[in-house]
């Protein structure tokens, strides 16, 4: 299947909140040789379920297998393989105070972000945008020497 085109895909999985459910999911990926680019999990409000958003890559056939194998797991309620979706990711960045804060602030604003914390030596900024735009932002912001970068991984909703 190496010859087939590999595509980035976002899969949402609704699972029962119970012990070891996350390892069932990740074991499935590692055991069958699938990739996880990013993974986010949080409980769905007022329910006994959690929602996982998994960014993965693979050929059409691999993605089909992933969704089927996920669905086979007993605590999995639903698997969505998104085609048309709204996708967002967040990133937090730490800069030295000596950097040009005005520039940083302006750039963050362009990516739905701002400076969220100011300390004695560092500032922390956040941005929240499409994963591809976050990627772009992180490339541009390099010249302001971020000391640390944290990405949340993508969350997604079908349109």
């Amino acid at each position: 299947m190496i010859t087939e085109n590999s595509e980035r895909r976002v899969i949402s999985v609704i699972v029962v909140n119970e012990a070891s459910v996350l390892s069932r999911i990740t074991d499935l990926f590692s055991g069958r040789g699938y990739n996880i680019t990013s993974l986010t999990v949080a409980p769905i409000p007022e329910s006994k379920y959690s929602r996982l958003t998994i960014v993965t890559s693979g050929s059409v056939r691999v993605i089909e297998q992933i969704t089927k194998q996920l669905h086979k797991l007993i605590p999995v309620l639903r698997v969505y393989e998104h085609a048309d979706l709204v996708e967002k990711e967040m990133a937090l960045l730490k800069f030295p105070l000596s950097e040009n804060i005005t520039d940083i602030s302006t750039l963050c604003a362009a990516y739905n972000g701002r400076i969220v914390n100011v300390g004695e030596n560092v500032i922390i900024a956040m941005v929240a945008d499409d994963p591809a735009r976050i990627e772009n932002f992180l490339r541009v912001i390099k010249k302001y020497n971020p000391k640390e970068i944290v990405r949340s991984g993508a969350v997604a909703l079908e349109r």
Binding site: V16, S20, K68, K72, I74, L77
Partner: protein, 565 residues
């Protein structure tokens, strides 16, 4: 009713109608064993290794169609059982395996005989549970039996800490199973079934491709009817042996790596594969791009993930084979069996060109003869288990199977050491049948301690050891693909198998000739004690035909033809 977690285990097993369990006690499971001592509703068979307990439970499950149960302790008890879990997972065998665990307060402390059991079993079970509160036990056990047997069957592992088996709680097993996230689809889509029947009616060279799912769903007799009414020839996978009777004219044979020439050629020439409960395993398909190249594919499977996993299906049907076949039978009148006459004839020609056979050209007995002869002598009266290797393939090729669940072998995982304990489970499940285990001189040593179990429990398994003083299948590959470098496969140094059997209280025979074999087998059947029949067979016999790994099904290495006298 108030009771301990250990008592709950017993009560749940009784409520599930379990009559036999297999196991081995140890520290963390002692509370449960104490309750076993006090009850007489089911029998406990003490194996001499936990791996054997799980294989015995598998044999029991396969022969009876019920859920097999094994009970083991924590740590090494559990890790010994893992091979059995993996084996059952690969071959879709319904099991509930209950293991003890160290007390909750010690979990995570690297306690004595502690291992992360559910962490290990996660990837080789259909589902697993670590029970942290005895209140959950009735529900968990009920779910475990349900999950094991429903949908695509498989092993379920329940790990219970020692303090949970001591905990006193209310027991109520009369509960509804409510698994919102697990609802296997067992009824095939009627519209799709209609389309499938139309496709079959249009096809010129259709072929039934029958898999182990037919046996698992107890659909063999319905499938026999469908095959007979349509007049469409059928090939069986290794796991499906016995689905059609050996003398059924429409049964070609087994296909795959060691399938018959006719079966593999039929699969290569067909224009419509009718896959029922088969999963297009690599040992069946050979090179995928050449597999049934010009054929449409109908794939009926209970497991959606098996459909289009390896071979894209033109007509996928998710459902239980039995239900789907019953629906197909409703529409069978539109199919004209005369239409496939030419097709049947060309398959007959394939079979005449290269029949599944062997040459009796050596001083030593031929292993295939031993299988065939056992079939002639015992036929339907025996259930056939095997270990893994050459003997296993010969058994699949040459035994005249007449019914489903007659054939018990480790297909997916290929577990050496499976046969003997499985045959013990088979005998426990079907005491009126003779339990044969075809094995090799390599495999038998991997669970030979089970002689003790068989003697103690009076389960007279007859082990027919095809002794070629080789790890034969690996030797065959070395001969063919490694320039005859027989690395570590020469088993010239061996125990005295006769004395070995006798040392445990069994009976041993060493056989060199046909006459000796007949005498030994008849005697073993009569004596009704566990037996080793060691048959000295030709050392360098190869399993043929053979599709080399990754090769195309139609490119088989074939048995050399002999000049007819």
């Amino acid at each position: 009713m108030q009771m301990s977690g250990a008592q709950m285990v017993i009560e749940a097993l009784i409520a599930e109608g379990v009559d036999t369990i297999f196991g081995y006690p140890g520290g963390a499971i002692m509370n449960v064993y104490d309750e076993i001592y006090k009850q007489n509703k089911f029998q406990h068979i003490l194996n001499r290794h936990e791996q054997a307990s799980v294989h015995a439970a598998e044999g029991y499950a396969k022969a009876s169609g019920k859920v097999g149960v094994a009970l083991i302790t924590s740590g090494p008890g559990f890790t010994n059982a893992v091979t059995g879990l993996a084996d059952a997972y690969m071959d879709s065998i319904p099991l509930v395996v209950i293991s003890g665990q160290v007390p909750m307060s010690l979990i995570g402390t690297d306690a004595f005989q502690e291992i992360d059991a559910v962490g290990i079993s996660r990837s080789c079970t259909k589902h697993n549970y670590l029970v942290t509160d005895a209140k959950d036990l009735p529900r968990v056990l009920k779910e475990a039996f349900y999950i094991a047997a429903s949908g695509r069957p498989g092993p379920v592992h329940v790990d219970i800490p020692k303090d949970v088996t001591a905990q006193i709680e209310e027991f109520n097993y009369d509960i509804e199973i409510n698994l919102e996230t697990y609802k296997p689809n067992i009824k095939g889509n009627p519209r799709q079934i209609k389309k499938v029947m139309e496709a079959i009616a249009k096809a010129r060279r259709p072929l039934f491709y029958l898999g182990g799912g037919v046996v698992n769903s107890n659909a063999a007799y319905e499938v026999r009817k469908l095959v007979q009414k349509t007049g469409i020839p059928a090939v069986e996978t290794f796991m499906a042996r016995g689905t059609l009777a050996h003398d059924d004219e429409l049964l070609i044979s087994m296909l795959g790596m060691h399938g018959s020439y006719a079966a593999n050629m039929a699969m290569s020439e067909t224009d419509l594969v009718i896959g029922l409960g088969a999963r297009f395993d690599d040992r069946v398909t050979g090179k995928l791009s050449e597999f049934a190249k010009n054929a449409g594919v109908i794939h009926v499977d209970i497991d959606p993930a098996s459909i289009s996993k390896l071979v894209p299906a033109d007509f996928p049907i998710v459902g239980d084979v039995k239900n789907v076949v019953l629906e197909m039978l409703e529409l069978v009148d539109q199919i004209d069996s005369n239409k496939y006459k030419t097709w049947r004839n060309s398959i007959k020609n394939f079979d005449e060109l290269h029949p599944l056979t062997f040459h009796e050209d050596s001083e030593r007995l031929k292993p295939q003869w031993v299988i065939q002869r056992t079939g002639e002598l015992l036929g339907d009266s025996a259930n056939i288990s095997t270990d893994v290797g050459q003997h296993q393939m010969w058994a699949a090729q040459f035994y005249p199977f007449s019914r489903p669940r007659q054939w018990i072998s480790s297909g997916g995982l290929g577990t050496m050491g499976f046969g003997f304990p499985a045959a013990i489970g088979v005998k426990a499940a079907t005491p009126d049948k003779i339990s044969i285990n075809f094995t090799g001189d390599g495999s038998i040593l991997m669970n030979c301690q089970e002689l003790m179990t068989a003697v103690e429990q009076k389960l007279p398994v007859i082990n027919i050891i095809l002794n070629n003083n080789f790890l034969g299948m690996v030797r065959q590959w070395q001969t063919l693909f490694y320039d005859k470098r027989h690395s570590q496969t020469d088993l010239s140094v061996q125990p005295d198998f006769v004395k070995l059997a006798e040392a445990f209280g069994g009976i041993g025979y060493r056989v060199h000739t046909k006459e000796e074999f007949d005498t030994a087998l008849k005697d073993a059947v009569e004596k009704n004690v566990v037996a080793f029949i060691e048959v000295i067979v030709e050392r360098f016999e190869n399993v043929m035909p053979m599709v080399p790994a990754g090769g195309s099904l139609f490119n088989m290495m074939l048995l050399e033809k002999k000049e007819k006298k």
